[in-house]
């Protein structure tokens, strides 16, 4: 069936080597070129702008490259404020959602209690409504309790987005741990807590770590909730970028911010996705 090159065996005479040529992958080339054009080019443009000092229409390439706007951007107090706020917010949200969700994920994966399936599926609810509509509904509640434009209001609205991820991914991680492995540890003399600490957690660790990393990065870049609940008092990095874009400030500010903030998160996310695996990732969204 498939084109396997003939392998000479010890007993038979070696026939003249016949390699069957694979037909050239034209479809693949087409997709590759098209996607490169659409996906890569816009990002390259941003990258170029970040290191440009002068780029006047209609030149194809910038007239002058340089790092001038990096120092200008980094000299802005609002950039640093937003960065520290974002980091603080993101850390709080990630730690909180881990504390809240991981024990629950373990319970969903390993314990049996009434209503387990229904409760687990109910976490899908956050994905079953149009997101921004949901945020507006929450903002309506926050308005009454005075959480609008406060740090904790933004933390709570971020939890809405992270709950689902931090429950579903760790549940599958815990479920993937072989029960026999835990039983073998009990057999060796470890109590339930010791088993969890020495066996279950290290086994599920990489996936849980990936989920936390994804939570961190997603929260860092979350724009809609932060804008709706936080703006203008609570200015996270994405909110700051929106105002840069809206105010048509120096073009390079946005570009510098994009490059600066995005490269590390890209590395983090690529790592996270490798750990979780494409299949599990898609399944998390119900594919």
């Amino acid at each position: 069936m498939s084109a396997v090159p003939n392998r000479p065996s010890a007993r038979t005479a070696v026939p003249p080597k016949r390699t069957v040529r694979q037909p050239f992958d034209w479809t693949g080339l087409l997709f590759a070129l098209g996607l490169t054009l659409v996906i890569v080019v816009p990002l390259l443009v941003v990258g170029t702008w970040a290191f440009t000092e002068v780029w006047r229409y209609p030149s194809l390439i910038p007239q002058q490259f340089g790092l001038r706007f990096w120092s200008q951007t980094l000299a802005r107090a609002d950039v640093w404020n937003a960065l520290f706020l974002s980091l603080r917010l993101t850390t709080v949200v990630t730690v909180l959602s881990a504390i809240i969700c991981l024990p629950a994920a373990y319970a969903f994966a390993r314990l049996s209690f009434p209503g387990r399936n229904l409760l687990f599926l109910s976490f899908l609810a956050s994905h079953a409504f149009p997101k921004f509509g949901l945020l507006v509904a929450i903002a309506g509640i926050f308005l009454h309790v005075g959480l609008i434009a406060t740090f904790w209001g933004v933390v709570l609205i971020q939890l809405v987005s992270t709950l689902m991820l931090m429950i579903w991914v760790p549940v599958s991680a815990f479920q993937a741990v072989d029960r026999r492995m835990e039983e073998a540890a009990r057999d060796a003399g470890a109590g339930p807590l010791r088993v969890f600490w020495s066996i279950t957690l290290p086994q599920a660790g990489p996936t849980i770590f990936a989920a936390m990393l994804m939570t961190f990065v997603n929260t860092f870049y979350e724009t809609e909730g932060a804008w709706l609940i936080g703006a203008p008092q609570i200015r996270t990095m994405p909110v700051l970028m929106i105002s840069f874009i809206n105010n048509q400030l120096v073009v390079q500010y946005g570009a510098v911010l994009s490059v600066m903030l995005w490269v590390p998160s890209l590395l983090a996310l690529i790592f996270a996705r490798r750990a979780v695996g494409t299949g599990a990732f898609a399944r998390g969204f119900g594919a």
Partner: protein, 296 residues
């Protein structure tokens, strides 16, 4: 041996009972948050818009805010542009995503891993950075203009600040999940069943139409539902890339809530969004629940 000399009192029933208590205790916190941050706001939004506080301070049943929405030309225009954007994006996503997914599932070509990496790549690009990149690329005097100008071709009208701006951004943004979910769906069609069809003489197109597509129905619908739920109330991309009027529901709700300080109408718009997405949401939840059942 770690043995204690005394035996425990008999309590054959106790652990199962204790397990239920511990289990419920462990899930209580996120479940409460879920109730407070998702279910309660939705119910409250419905109650608040249908039983608004009247001028006399008392609540009474009234659909006035809904009547206003559906009689206000501006609101209706926003709803129309939202529906249009959602339909166009859904269609484009399937037209672009399905061929890529098919290629990734069945090709062993040399470009497969590159195509996969690129198709998934936008997942790592936050929408705010994407918005910025698209402004610089397809906006006025952007890269597309530069290239056309250098080639001596006439300028194209820029999609920036037209309804096509959000469409381009949303398709870009939703492409990875569409491809991933469709590829996962295609993964459930075994090579053997395709090979069996080829074996009895079906050509590639015939295989696609008779073997693959009929079994893709559910995956396609789940994928579309997920995309629709995301697109219908998208905020960042339409806000930055789209026209100021008419605007999509996301920016519209935000402006009504924050700039106009009019939570009642913003909530009404939110409830109307829920209504339009209800079918997709229910379908999405139902198929995931079913998937979980069958996987057990």
């Amino acid at each position: 041996m770690a043995m204690l000399s005394s035996t425990l009192p008999a309590r054959a029933r106790a652990p199962a009972y204790g397990g239920a208590i511990i289990g419920l205790a462990l899930v209580a916190m996120p479940v409460l948050l879920l109730g407070w941050l998702i279910l309660y706001p939705i119910l409250a939004a419905i109650v608040e818009t249908m039983f608004p506080v009247g001028a006399d301070g008392a609540r009474g049943f009234s659909l006035a805010s809904y009547r206003f929405f559906f009689s206000d030309d501006y609101s209706l225009a926003n709803l129309r542009v939202t529906l249009w954007t959602t339909c166009v994006c859904g269609l484009l996503l399937v037209l672009v995503g399905l061929p890529i997914a098919l290629y990734l599932r069945f090709s062993r070509g040399r470009f497969a891993s590159y195509v996969q990496a690129l198709a998934i790549f936008p997942m790592f690009v936050p929408s705010i950075i994407l918005s910025y990149a698209l402004i610089r690329t397809i906006g006025p005097n952007g890269t597309v203009d530069l290239v056309l100008n250098a080639l001596g071709l006439p300028k194209l009208p820029t999609p920036y600040l037209t309804p096509w701006g959000p469409v381009i951004g949303l398709v870009w943004d939703n492409l990875p999940l569409t491809v991933l979910m469709l590829t996962a769906g295609l993964g459930q069609i075994s090579n053997a069943s395709v090979e069996a069809a080829r074996d009895v003489g079906a050509g590639p197109l015939r295989v696609l139409v008779s073997i693959i597509l009929p079994r893709m129905g559910n995956s396609l619908l789940v994928t579309l539902s997920f995309a629709v739920l995301g697109i219908f109330s998208a905020f960042t991309l339409p806000y930055v890339l789209g026209p100021a009027s008419p605007e999509m529901m996301g920016p519209f709700m935000e402006r009504t809530f924050s700039d106009n300080n009019d939570p009642l109408n913003a909530l009404t718009q939110a409830v109307i969004s829920f209504g339009f997405c209800l079918v997709f949401g229910l379908f999405y939840v139902r198929s995931i629940a079913r998937n979980r059942e069958s996987r057990r």
